[in-house]
Amino acid sequence: MKSNKELFAELDTFIEEKHNDPSELIAILHKAQGLFGYLPMNVQQFIADKLKINVSRVYGVVTFYSFFTMVPKGDNVINICLGTACFVRGANDLLARVEEILKIKNGETTPDGKFTLTTLRCVGACGLAPVMQINDKTYGNLKVDDIDGILSQY
């Protein structure tokens, strides 16, 4: 595990590589979220200072895009696809089952920090609908009864 200081140093290097260019803000936020796991205010302030822009602009961008988050995520991120193809093949039932098992709602993290549950719009694997991703692994052609078994592997 890297210390906070190391993480900021790495972020700093990345920003330097981008020549402190404010038009690279989104790439920088992607990098920062990769390093810290989320984008707390002090990270946003750090980026704003480095790019010589107002922190309000950084905050505006962070809150505009659904990919960025200001709350830490759990160890395993569950993404349920709610694209149209998955929706008509029963993705809502999968979501309900996961919510029931983990006792959290969409967008929340379990109290032990093990799982975060989110939804997204189309991973482009419509042939496998309905689809659920956990971290980088994709589970396709799911039925509600499959959920218990999959979650128990984590």
């Binding site: 990919f67 719009r121 482009g124």
Partner: protein, 630 residues
């Protein structure tokens, strides 16, 4: 690869690399050597196709045939429903639903013994096994231009792209054509933007060329946000160089030396392949400074989206590349005069780009031979939903919905009845049975109240409630509305509230009138295409399926049985066997035994207590006698 310094050198390499594709070109039933292509698209890699490659290589060693067989990944075959796909050349045997455990069989039986592995073949609706790709109905009516190389070449090897005439169109442009020639060729083709609005590509380029500036930009819109559309991703994963080449061609035509690819963060594999492609092409002198030894230079960067549907709109996309909130601005000024960083910019979508090399090499007129009067060429559709053959299909414009859904798509899943097909994603609409024989092109779809959009095509069956589908799309738009203009931000939210009221069973007929009025106001007053088209799913379902709306508000019934508040489960006593399976499986104990005899007179019939029932449908699925209805 070493630097290619001229068109002659490129053509020489083209000849030289033909040998790479020898096995894949001519179909032969008997061969000494084989080439195995394994699909490496997102759908198939999600089902472990990369592991299949490893296993195949392992068994090729074990059975001592490693020198007899080449094994590589390739781009999406399009037949995602049956993935992972493995194709064997030169005999063109097409294996479907392959697992890593099948690798040994493929090597031992097919490669060593020369026998087809029967159980991995595709079976058609009649249960007949079909061994060759071209004989499968899914492929018979397709005509592949944009997807021409997907499933043929290894996208991570530049040599293979060169062997399929990659970068020859760029070479032709640089060595033979003026920028006006290029624009004329593209105009002659009649190509219209494949991203949604369908604007004429040649005209767009002409405007960008006419703008006077010291700097211009080319943008590739790879922010494929329509849920259910994945053609752009497949092109980027399967044939990334075709997009890079075309961006450079457009750069030459309008006078730009820099290009940006704006891609969704959700597409890591496509990003990975693009990175490799840009690196290799730059090393080979096909991108970068002095391309192919000429004075033309063109650089391409990748910019990441961060999850905002509105960024598919070109002005919003441009703001996002500039590192700002992706909010649209009013047009004019169009990007062609004032775009990225205030400079003239030409934006096209991935599928549009993929058509350009073919137009340049074969001529615009040849391209225009395909299609209808005002929509030329082919269109890739992402066929999904309640259909047997989910996947990517590329057909000439003017093909009918019926041909796509029944001939190519193999009809509706589980023998259900077709109800509607949704085209154009959240901006499009639903077409019903009576529209099935309409030839599909840009104008016909708009006339029918839908639109081409990016080509998503979601098939719905009798179990889908059209009010609920409209609500689904509205939820999407409400979530994705950027909030800049009031009609879209507030109006869509009010529409969603009304729709929710209707699906909850509290709707009135006045609500239907309000919905329509509101929809027209939003269409007329929104700032960008997202808002202007957001009411389409509502309006088109109201147009084609008004009876369902009326059933919801007047009779408080959901004909499809989807809206839980409007569904009542009931046991038909004379059919009830009295087995009690329903009662044992009911999660809320809402089913009880009556004192009336069941069909089997020794047992008692069951009944559902409507006040306890949560309408989960478990009893309906468990009942062996189909005695439960909703």
């Amino acid at each position: 690869m070493k630097k290619i310094n001229s068109r002659e050198e490129l053509l020489a390499l083209y000849e030289q690399y033909q040998s790479l594709l020898d096995l894949r070109k001519e179909e032969k039933d008997v061969s000494e050597k084989y080439h195995i292509s394994v699909c490496g698209g997102t759908g198939c890699t999600s089902s472990n196709s990369l592991e299949i490659v490893e296993e195949l290589k392992k068994y090729a060693e074990i059975y001592h045939v490693a020198d007899k067989v080449e094994i590589s990944i390739t781009g999406c075959f399009g037949f995602c429903e049956r993935g992972p796909i493995v194709k064997i050349f030169p005999d063109h045997t097409f294996y479907v639903k392959v697992t890593p455990q099948d690798a040994e069989k493929i090597i031992k039986q097919h490669i060593v013994e020369g026998k087809v592995v029967e159980e991995l073949l595709y079976k058609n609706e009649k249960g007949e096994k079909i061994s060759k790709q071209d004989n499968i109905n899914f492929y018979k009516k397709q005509h592949r231009i944009a997807l021409r190389n997907c499933g043929l070449i290894n996208p991570e090897v530049l040599e293979e792209t060169i062997a399929v005439k990659g970068y020859q169109a760029l070479a032709k442009v640089l060595y033979e054509m003026t920028s006006d020639d290029v624009i004329k060729e593209v105009s002659d083709s009649g190509l219209r933007g494949r991203g949604g609005a369908g604007f004429l590509t040649g005209q767009k380029w002409r405007f960008a060329k006419a703008a006077v500036s010291d700097k211009k930009y080319i943008i590739c819109n790879a922010d494929e946000g329509d849920p259910g559309a994945f053609m752009d991703r497949s092109i980027l994963e399967g044939d990334p160089h075709s997009v890079l080449e075309s961006m450079a061609i457009a750069g030459y035509a309008i006078g730009a030396d820099e290009g940006e690819i704006y891609i969704r963060a959700e597409y890591p594999l496509a990003v990975h392949r693009l990175e490799i492609a840009i690196r290799e092409a730059t090393e080979a002198g096909l991108l970068g400074d002095h391309i192919l030894g000429t004075n033309f230079s063109f650089h391409i960067n990748i910019k990441y989206g961060a999850g905002a549907f509105v960024c598919g709109e070109e002005t919003a996309l441009i703001h996002s590349i500039e590192g700002k909130r992706g909010e649209p601005t009013l047009k004019p000024p169009f990007p062609a005069t004032k775009g990225l960083f205030g400079k003239p910019t030409n934006v096209n979508n991935v599928e549009t780009w993929a058509n350009i090399p073919v137009i340049i090499l074969d001529g615009g007129k040849k391209f225009a031979e395909l299609g209808t009067e005002n929509s030329k060429g082919t269109k890739v559709f992402a066929l999904a939903g309640k259909i047997n053959n989910v996947g990517l299909v590329e057909v000439p414009m003017g093909t009918t919905l019926r041909e796509i859904i029944y001939d190519i798509g193999g009809g509706i899943k589980n023998g259900k009845k077709f109800k509607a097909v949704q085209t154009g994603g959240p901006s499009g609409g639903c077409l019903s049975e009576k529209d099935l024989d309409t030839p599909i092109d840009y104008d016909n779809l708009v006339e029918k109240g839908s639109m081409m959009g990016s080509g998503g095509m979601i098939v719905l069956d009798e179990d889908d409630c059209m009010v609920n589908i409209a609500k689904f799309y509205l939820e999407f738009t409400v979530e994705e509305s950027c909030g800049k203009c009031t009609p879209c931000r507030v109006g869509n939210k009010r529409m969603l509230e009304i729709l929710t009221k209707i699906t909850d069973g509290n709707g009135t007929e006045q609500d239907l009138a309000d919905l329509q009025e509101l929809a027209h106001v939003i269409k007329d007053c929104s700032l960008c295409a997202l808002g202007q088209s957001a009411p389409n799913p509502v309006l088109s379902t109201m147009q084609g399926f008004m009876d369902e709306y009326i059933a919801h508000v007047r009779d408080k019934k959901c004909p499809a049985g989807t809206c839980k508040n409007l569904v009542n489960y009931e046991i038909i006593e004379k059919n009830c066997l009295g087995c009690g399976l329903c009662a044992r499986n009911c999660p809320v104990n809402a089913i009880f035994k009556t004192d009336r005899p069941a069909k089997n007179p020794r047992l008692m019939a069951y009944e559902i207590d409507g006040s306890k029932c949560v309408k989960c449908g478990t009893c309906l699925h468990k009942c062996p006698a189909k005695a439960i209805i909703k």
